[in-house]
Symmetry: C2
Subunit: 246 residues, 2 copies
């Protein structure tokens, strides 16, 4: 749905006069909630866009932190690789999502961000964002809300990982994905996964085999139609019930 083939490598692009006020994502992104006047002030906040080819990284763990990245198009995963080889996918990110919030605290990135398809991001220099946030209260508020929601979201992941069965995890995952797609104007019932079974497993804390079996089971039960990465939600109520067992 968004295969811009203009640029496949991962390098800075000449500034395209990125103006948040014109951006179709402004309802999802940092400028959300800002008035037209405030939007004008955002001018110059995004100085740069960057393209990242599928499979390449936007940043890597322990890279120095300089900017946040707002996904303009494409799809990313963020993941932490431990010394002992295991790794955990900490999130999947689509248009409008902000990447890098976990790096502010230590001034280094804490995870790798990998493009799962050819993608483009807006580069938000953090020092500039902080300065603007000091000047414009609505922007400050929006930044705090985004960070806070990230915390709340991660805590609901703790809930999922700490106490749900495999099927409930998958159901919750699909509902979350569908919700976000709907927010972006896509169908909430027919979707194409951008990640492998293994990546889903690393996100949901289970093996790829268990992911696969759960999909098969849900298909058998008439809740989903699964054909490789094409998923169709047939019975949304059932899915909700499975995500929240009695």
């Amino acid at each position: 749905m968004s295969d811009r083939s203009e640029a496949l490598a991962s390098y800075p692009e000449p500034a395209l006069k990125a103006v948040c006020g014109n951006c179709t994502l402004r309802e999802l992104c940092l400028p959300y909630g800002l008035s037209a006047d405030d939007l004008d002030r955002m001018d110059g906040l995004v100085t740069l866009r960057r393209s990242v080819a599928r499979g390449r990284s936007l940043f890597r763990r322990s890279d120095p932190f300089e900017a946040l990245y707002s996904v303009r198009s494409g799809f990313f995963k963020t993941c932490i690789t431990t010394e002992d080889g295991r790794d955990q996918v900490t999130g999947f990110h689509m248009a409008g999502d902000l990447l890098g919030l976990d790096a502010i605290g230590r001034e280094r990135h804490n995870c790798d961000a990998i493009a799962l398809e050819d993608s483009q991001v807006c580069v938000v220099a953090f020092s500039r964002l902080e300065r603007l946030a000091r000047e414009y209260e609505p922007l400050q508020r929006q930044l705090h809300q985004l960070m806070s929601r990230e915390i709340a979201h991660d805590q609901s992941m703790m809930l999922l990982l700490g106490g749900m069965r495999a099927e409930a995890r998958i159901a919750t995952f699909l509902i979350d994905l569908a919700t976000r797609l709907v927010q972006r104007g896509f169908s909430g019932s027919a979707m194409v996964l951008r990640m492998t079974r293994e990546e889903i497993g690393l996100y949901l804390g289970m093996t790829l085999e268990t992911v696969s079996r759960s999909f098969s089971k849900l298909q058998l039960d008439g809740v989903l139609e699964v054909r490789q990465r094409q998923i169709r939600i047939i019975d949304q109520d059932a899915l909700l019930r499975i995500a929240t067992p009695a």
Copy 2:
């Protein structure tokens, strides 16, 4: 170690002229990194302290969000209870920790905060904090860092919950606890747990029986000495190895 018996109920106290500049916790808390001059400006940020008796709540899920709370003394857990009865402990909090960051996004609290011993908190009116953060860059920076670290911490919990075995979870939990106690000037090898086995289990995503068995196993292996809630770390290296399997 901190049994102030002055006030056992959960009610506001007359302002005690709380001045961050005098506070012994300033190295751990919001004012961290501020100069003496900046500290003066924090005057009036904390208008109120509150005592919370053991077992009582500081706030509950869906309470309107008005303030952050900095733990002055005592010990809290935060937890989310789902409709279906399960609940997940999202964190344990001791002196210097800031509670409520997850509520900014929705302007309602997302979890319950329960005192596990008689405790006292500083009440930080959030609107006032935001205003000050707009005026004093170092305070803004510190607030962002604290939120970011909370995100990074929650993500490392995802890693634990997503991929570690019971024993590794317990080992990681104890190391984290010991580290935080050391930061506060306590022993890192002998400690008294403030929470039940069940609460540990709800935090680490396992049953209380598995928690108990893991403690017993670690004791049998000569890594810990366990007597109820009194824990002594005998072999720190072994504990580290268990927390990070090959």
